[in-house]
């Protein structure tokens, strides 16, 4: 991966993690 690609990925991931809502049922750990 080129540095620019990695930076883009990093930026996208940061935004994603900011916005991602909690996945409600995960709390019950359905396994």
């Amino acid at each position: 991966m080129q540095n620019t690609e990695l930076m883009e990925l990093e930026e996208r991931l940061e935004e994603e993690l900011e916005e991602r809502e909690e996945f409600g049922e995960v709390c019950f750990w359905n396994f």
């Binding site: 991966m1 990695l6 990925l9 990093e10 996208r12 991931l13 940061e14 994603e16 993690l17 991602r20 909690e22 996945f23 409600g24 049922e25 995960v26 709390c27 019950f28 750990w29 359905n30 396994f31």
Partner: protein, 444 residues
């Protein structure tokens, strides 16, 4: 420029319900659907594909499914994992355990390994008002307590004896803008009507192990008395009050035929018409995540439901193991988001704190009551120890898993296995995860 190649982190499956292939990239988080002709070549890593449709090749390259040979993919995955883990470290995920005591005596309860009979029977072992004040002092002081939901767990959190403390916790939480979910046996719910509502405990998970007799065989009161009828009435009541109810059923060889009967019951009761009702079936672990009671695993349950034509919608939505993966995948793909889950298996390795009645902190429910304490809440302060830090250091960047294309979905598996068996905490525990993931992706 070096040669083009297929990424080592491509996950590719043939679609089950329509033509073509679904592909997901294991650290870029991208998703694509390929038609059959392109898909089969992609699946077989056939390099003649590189000379075909330029638009598709450009997209595959842009999305990371194709890359150049000098790409350091493992470093890229670790970089993504570091960001994900560090982001998670900014926020605690809180579970409050108001008591270890339980009015049920289920033979398969995983807490049987941790608690003595005396601890389970000790009705006086309930969290104090002072401890709740301590917890909320900590929540107020720390920036890291930004979560909106607190999980109530036990023992049995919604036992009649706990009404006062549960009401106190919930009312205090409301002032902090928090909502609650609870794992409960569903028996004493009639006493909790003032806190089970859209401003308090909004969602509960209850377990039914079969119809009447078979349920009562495993999920009976401490004195052996049955519980089935009362739980059914409670579910009926609280569904009408808009409480979200998830019914779990623990499956072994002795009750696998109850799947059919329970689904009929849910239809008959009209529960399937409620948007706030969901249900799923899960196997019982024997000792480890790879060992199941009577060899009944997720796939056995899925096959049973499919072979008997029991469900109109997708069967995997109703089998533990599959359902979380499926719903997360579907939601991320549908909303055009990055299709990645987490760098660790669960919050036990990323700032999960479980607060026991005396303020002791654990990270993992399987460890409750054991000597593996991870900290303490006292005098309005949260103090965590080296064991807490050890749990929180386990994520895929530091594991063999960084080679695996499923790493940022599976998170390296359940760390508790390593603790129990005195293994290196960073050893991966795969537990059949790739198969579960592929099945879910093929159903999208």
């Amino acid at each position: 420029m070096s040669r083009l190649k297929f990424s080592d982190y491509n996950i590719v499956v043939k679609c089950k319900h329509h033509s073509g292939y679904n592909i997901v990239h294991g650290y870029r988080g991208n998703y694509m659907h390929l038609d059959n002709d392109i898909g089969i070549k992609f699946f077989n890593r056939d390099e003649t594909l590189f000379d075909e449709n330029k638009n598709i090749m450009d997209k595959l390259l842009k999305y990371g499914f194709l890359c150049y040979e000098d790409t350091d993919e493992m470093s890229a995955l670790k970089h993504v994992a570091d960001i994900m883990h560090n982001k998670g470290q900014e926020k605690y995920k809180v579970t409050i355990i108001p008591t270890y005591s339980c009015n049920f005596r289920c033979p398969y309860c995983f807490e049987n390994k941790s608690f003595t009979k005396e601890q389970k029977c000790n009705e006086k072992n309930i969290m104090s008002i002072e401890m709740v004040d301590n917890i909320f002092d900590v929540i107020e002081k720390h920036d890291n307590f930004k979560q909106k939901v607190i999980h109530l767990f036990g023992g049995e959190p919604l036992k009649r004896d706990n009404l006062e403390i549960i009401s106190y916790i919930v009312n205090k939480g409301l002032k902090h803008g928090l909502k609650f979910i609870a794992t409960t046996n569903g028996y004493d719910l009639e006493y909790f009507k003032d806190v089970l509502n859209s401003n308090g405990i909004t969602t509960i998970q209850i377990t039914l192990d079969g119809l009447g007799e078979l349920h009562n065989k495993t999920r009976h009161l401490h004195n052996g008395m049955p519980t089935f009828e009362k739980i059914i009435d409670n579910i009926d009541t609280y569904l009408k009050k808009d409480i979200s109810i998830i019914v779990r059923t623990n499956i072994s060889l002795s009750n696998i035929d109850e799947i059919k009967k329970l689904i009929y019951l849910y239809k008959e009761k009209g529960w399937l018409n409620y948007k706030n009702f969901a249900y799923y079936f899960s196997p019982i672990y024997k000792d480890s995540v790879d060992e199941y009671m009577d060899n009944i695993d997720y796939n056995t349950i899925l096959k049973y439901i499919e072979d008997n034509g029991l469900i109109d919608d997708l069967s995997i939505c109703h089998v533990g193991g599959y359902r979380n993966i499926y719903f997360r995948l579907k939601s991320l793909i549908r909303n055009n988001r990055m299709v990645l889950f987490d760098a660790e298996r669960c919050s036990a390795c990323n700032n999960g704190i479980m607060i026991c009645p005396d303020g002791t902190i654990y990270t993992c429910d399987e460890m409750l009551g054991t000597e593996n304490k991870c900290g303490q809440i006292s005098d309005g302060r949260l103090i965590v120890n080296d064991l807490y830090k050890k749990w929180n250091s386990r994520y895929v960047s530091f594991m063999e898993c960084s080679k695996c294309k499923y790493a940022l979905f599976c998170g390296g598996g359940c760390a508790v296995e390593n603790f129990r068996n005195n293994l290196d905490i960073n050893s991966p525990i795969c537990g059949g995860y790739p198969k579960l993931f592929d099945e879910c992706l093929s159903n999208i």
